[in-house]
Amino acid sequence: MVKLGKYARSVSIIGVGCTPFMYTVDNPETDGLTEGELFGYAALQAMEDAGVNPQDVDYYFHGEASPLNGSNYLTPNVQIANWFGMKGKGSIHHSEACCTGYLAIEQAVNAVASGKYNCVLSGCVEFGDSLAIGNHPYKREKMTMDKFLVTTAWLYDRNYTRSLMAGQELIYDDAAEWYKRTRGITDQEMDDTLNWMCINNRRNASVNPLAIERRTYEQLAKEAGFENVMDYMRSPHNPKMGDFLRLGGVELKCDGAAAVVVCATELVDKYMGNKSHKPIEVLGVGSAACEATTPHFEVRATEEAVRQVYELTGLSGEDLDLFFANDFIITSHLVSAEIAGYLPYGEGWKYICEGRTAYDGDRPINTNGGRTSFGHAHAASGLADLYEAVKQMRGECGERQVKKLPKTTMLRGYGGAQNVAAYIIRTIEEG
């Protein structure tokens, strides 16, 4: 059984950056944006937020889920460092598909905690909705669902999983089946819970200028002639796409980038200069991975990742003020929050149906809108969640600021059939 060790030295988040999540080719103002421009924007914003100059940053990590497919790149990290003033610095590219942005923080923290570097940038970019066209310098074309599904098949083991046919298909509904069976709720209660997660995510996104879809389900229901939003959610406007999953519970794949700057906590004053925001310490990162022939892969890997980070930190779900889950299949949101103890066992679905997990509730989840409303620029989503978490913990979220200033947050990453990471960050109080 894996037992995490303490970091050799404390590491803190000092800066974050994030682009809007976009369908770039659909809008003349964004059509033509490139990898260097998206990543560079997020990276420079994170450095400015941290109070550092690119020359202060020792190394950078680059995440992109599918650079070969989306960007026609084999070594994407090499191609863009000059866009944000880090030409000549060392870097490495990594991909864990939809979990990339969650493991991106682990890469950066380990590099600083080890003592090798003092200040590191970690960023991710994805064109999830478009493809580079040959060798054209900037033109892209829309990624059709057919093209998307060709490469998502590559997420699964070729030797056995694809052959056995079940693992790759269970991603849509396995967690819902598991939750319904183990908690003893009805089909109707499960359906309502899935719908309420969509509604809550969208309410959060409706007050987030970076989110890709800001029209509330209440607005959409009214426009379609429904007085009751739940009647709309149960209607053909929100069709069943899985055994349990409806259309509203599926990711909105799109384009975007996000970045974070971390440094040794002991050097915060040196790097942050006159910046007034408090650094946020990364307390630990639990991780697990199960290929998709593994029954209940998401549940099993989440239980293990959460166990690791709680054992390391001595914390529990009751210590968390805010929770993020990579919910490209929206059930993740419920299942992971309950496994983490952020919502009580067997009661999480009630919290969701009562709206208590929206930004203005007492147990907020995915205050940026999550993958079904903020959007899913695959690799970048994890760091976009971290961006939101940090902004919430600083009290900088304006209209969607949660009621109680969060001090301790867990982010649960998931993706790549299937990597899972669960990490905890905590604001460092002065003195």
Binding site: S163, M241, V250, P295
Partner: protein
Amino acid sequence: MSVKLEKVVQKFYDSLEEGKIMGRKCTKCGAMEFPPVYACNSCGCTDLEWTEISGKAKMHSIVMPAALSSKPEYKALGQYAYGEVELEEGSRLNAVVRGISRKKRKELLDKLPVSCHAAIYQRDGYKTVVFDLDEDQ
């Protein structure tokens, strides 16, 4: 070093062509690796021996195929579901189980786990393993 550079995947599929469903059993702890791999995931031992599985199994969960979770090719399976299947030898995996309609699922949910058995199924260019619900279920 006991691990050998050998073609486990090809042997698994060649065995299916011969009508045998093979796993690899750990000589140290007895755990069955199915589908077969090099090392035991229960104890880490690399000394595994090829063993034909009995085919007897239990299905612990049922998920029905739908728009996102089916492919035109799967129509040849007839009525089927996905779920967690436990082999008699102890290994658990996600698998296809034939013989389950939506109506049948309702009957089975209160009886889980239900008995099923492994079958060799022809796909385009190779054979694979699916399971069939036992007739008495």
